[in-house]
């Protein structure tokens, strides 16, 4: 059997520049870039740590109101909390920015590891799951992320004793 080989990762920055330029956009998007990147080592064993998820996947709890408000949604807004006790199958994703030709976002655990995180507690790998996960919108504003959304997530994490966060997008 022929061994499967990995191809090079898709260069999204280059692809997006070409794509939007061909659509007629003349201003090139500048992705945030930091020369200094923060780093904190874990201060205690993972099995004692409280873990949360921070996401930009625009995930919401399934409810009649949420599912029906499709026409009102915008992809910008404040950071909001998601009750971490909610099962993955009771959440859904509003985000449109995935490769809908190649895959789907029907399984929330494929972009927000809710069930897998709870299993990790049961197995003793992590101490606990924080009471809330956090969703921030991808509003294309470095300033807003730094000055509004980042501090809002940090405040929530500090208030809830979070030791580490897993960040996921879509």
């Amino acid at each position: 059997m022929e061994e499967e080989r990995m191809s090079a990762p898709l260069r999204y920055i280059e692809r997006a520049r070409t794509y939007f330029s061909e659509l007629g956009y003349t201003t090139e998007y500048r992705w945030p870039h930091f020369t200094d990147v923060p780093f904190t080592a874990l201060k205690k064993p993972l099995s004692d740590c409280c873990i949360t998820i921070v996401t930009t996947s625009f995930v919401e709890e399934k409810s009649e109101e949420n599912v029906s408000k499709e026409s009102e949604i915008v992809l910008a807004g404040d950071v909001y909390e998601i009750d971490s006790r909610v099962k993955a199958c009771d959440l859904f994703c509003r985000h449109e920015g995935y490769d809908s030709y190649a895959t789907n976002v029907d399984d929330v655990d494929s972009f927000l590891p809710v069930s897998r995180l709870h299993e990790s507690v049961a197995e003793g790998r992590i101490g606990s799951v924080a009471p809330f996960f956090y969703n921030a919108f991808s509003t294309y504003s470095k300033k807003r992320t730094e000055q509004v959304d980042g501090p809002a997530v940090l405040k929530g994490c500090e208030e809830n004793g979070v030791d580490a966060a897993i960040l996921t997008g879509i």
Binding site: M6, S7, P9, L10, R11, Y12, I13, E14, R15, A16, Y19, E22, W31, P32, H33, F34, T35, V37, P38, F39, T40, A41, L42, L46, I73, V74, L75, A76, E96, G97, Y98, D99, S100, Y101, A102, T103, N104, V105, D106, D107, D109, S110, F111, L112, P113, S115, R116, E119, S120, R125, I126, T139, Y140, S141, R144, I166, L167, T168, G169, I170
Partner: protein
């Protein structure tokens, strides 16, 4: 945990667990619980083992339906957003511009 390696590394994060899947499933293929479990476990390993920022680890998984998506994603053949998605995106951009203007 992410799929857009170049973007995340351009920005710079403490740790990245990179899986070379199409955008949408950075934590594993849909409904493949065992694979998702492995990916989360690798993310937790990285949380423990990394010693410096910008540490990237690539997972060994290969998208099972071939890599044609790398050629077609975000092209005229496979546009990034459909008409509705594009409308929402422009709406979001508009909201952000209005917010910026109000804060000036």
């Amino acid at each position: 945990m992410g799929c857009a390696k170049d973007i995340v590394e351009h920005c710079g994060v403490p740790r990245l667990l990179f899986t070379d899947f199409p955008l949408g499933n950075p934590c594993g293929e849909p409904f493949k619980a065992e694979q998702q479990k492995t990916l989360l476990s690798m993310a937790l390993d990285l949380l423990e083992s990394a010693r410096a920022p910008r540490t990237t680890v690539q997972t060994p998984f290969i998208w099972p339906h071939g890599d044609q998506w790398k050629e077609t994603f975000m092209t005229k053949e496979h546009p990034f957003l459909d008409e509705k998605g594009m409308q929402l995106w422009l709406q979001a951009k508009g909201a952000l511009k209005a917010e910026k203007a109000a804060n000036r």
